[in-house]
Symmetry: C2
Subunit: 285 residues, 2 copies
């Protein structure tokens, strides 16, 4: 299910009975916010897929900044990001006019614009629950800090892990989760626990006021409609590949025939979902 990164719509999400609350809340919120808190970064109602790709563009722009590039055309940027130039222009157009016709986009300006649109300029405070194999890897993952995310708390239920230090933070007892989240003012919770603990942990995060959760558990979680969740399931990724592998083996000669002199193509991902896609920085040095 969800991997698809897709699916949570915002505005007009035609939801099936049960989800209708989500659609309603978003609509109402949009109307209200539009009049009151308009002056701040005009974060509009972007299409699901666009939000995902904006993060990709941001990564590419970062590389370009480092390389000293100041102006970039939609064609160049699109190629570097692995998408079509039309789609890139359409995506950027949701943020308003960003480029100069006949010239291109100002790298620095565009970066700032996207960061503001994604809310990355607000500095998110992240708590991570579950410090097993994957959790530890995430805790040590340096890419977050460089992207405006600050890890502020680690939690686990195992006495063996509580009290240990990982990357400058002490692992705390998950029993303190709720109180600690409030105190730390966490805005995002990452769940890397076993399946059977995931729902309980999420409930705790929600009670503590966290409204955005990234889960690596495979179980579908039930949450109140005002909480946004995103899931990553490694085994599903593998299984999807398995399907493709099976198909490829059957049509081997056809693939070879085409693979020969064909130009390489940029990779696209999941997106899932509907894909989902990319961002910048090394994961496992």
């Amino acid at each position: 299910m969800s991997e698809q990164h897709q699916s949570h719509g915002f505005s007009a999400r035609g939801a099936s009975g049960a989800d209708s609350t989500t659609a309603a809340s978003t609509t109402a919120a949009g109307a209200a916010a539009a009049e009151t808190a308009a002056p701040r970064a005009e974060v509009k109602d972007l299409p699901q897929a666009t939000v995902t790709r904006l993060a990709t563009y941001l990564r590419v722009l970062g590389v370009m900044t480092d390389a000293g590039t100041h102006i970039v055309s939609s064609e160049e940027l699109a190629t570097a990001a692995g998408v079509g130039s039309s789609m890139l222009r359409k995506d950027l157009s949701f943020l308003g006019p960003n480029g100069v016709r006949g010239v291109g986009y100002d790298v620095t300006r565009l970066r700032a614009r996207i960061e503001a649109a994604l809310g990355l300029d607000q500095g998110h405070r992240v708590v991570l629950v579950g410090v097993g194999n994957l959790g530890q890897a995430l805790a040590r993952y340096g890419g977050f800090g460089r992207r405006g995310f600050t890890m502020v708390g680690l939690f686990d239920s195992s006495p063996d892990r509580i009290g240990t230090e990982i990357d400058g933070l002490i692992v705390r007892d998950v029993a303190e989760l709720e109180a600690a989240c409030r105190e730390l003012e966490a805005t995002i919770g990452v769940v890397a626990t076993p399946d059977d603990a995931a729902q309980r942990v999420c409930d705790g995060l929600v009670d503590a006021g966290v409204r955005c959760i990234l889960s690596f558990a495979s179980a579908p979680l039930e949450l109140p409609p005002h909480v946004e969740i995103r899931r990553v399931d490694l085994a599903v990724e593998m299984q999807v590949l398995s399907f493709r592998s099976a198909r490829r083996t059957d049509g081997e000669h056809a693939a070879v025939a085409l693979g020969g002199g064909a130009p390489r193509r940029a990779a696209r991902s999941t997106s899932k979902d509907l894909g989902s896609t990319r961002n910048g920085s090394v994961i496992a040095p």
Copy 2:
């Protein structure tokens, strides 16, 4: 002649310009395979999104088997998987008739059917490149084995890691990658290296005959059209959440108003894209 069951019309999988190679290969393969390798599991041309969800259903069915359930209705299965019942039925219908009207689906039979469709009954052999933080977590992740994936090789470029043992496998020098892949008959490659090594590693995998790659690097990779790639980018997931968080904060009162007594809803995720999603088993115990 050989029209055993009604053809569900998928063959025509329209692809958009850039991806046309995929469509072409599929079409050609379909025609050829239909005559030659027909008897094996009839893996048809499933919609992208459906493939992703099938993996979810499989996980839920596994839980049901353990619980001793033998028959399940589309409504029950859909709820457990977090999707609508119509969608579930539509998804399953691509595999041909699987249930009994007025009764439901046979859990065991359906499981076998989906596993065959996803090619999980073929036993995939996986090599992992990059044994840093994330790579080690993946190597130790027990969920793969239970799902028909066998980890057969670990590779890294760091002398500190080469020769060390992880979960029963010795880490080998990435210089041996290509030869070892052929020898090990790997069908899936997992890339968990830093960005700057990802492209090189992928090239090696492709040269060694691997046609399916799961990458955790953030850079878009260029590959020949006959190679299937799937990417997971943790920072992008966080950034998408960030966007949601920002929107939520603006429309706070609206969300609260509705959040109160609203019933919980099942979580849906990413993917993407072409979404992607879940599977069964603990990730970080």
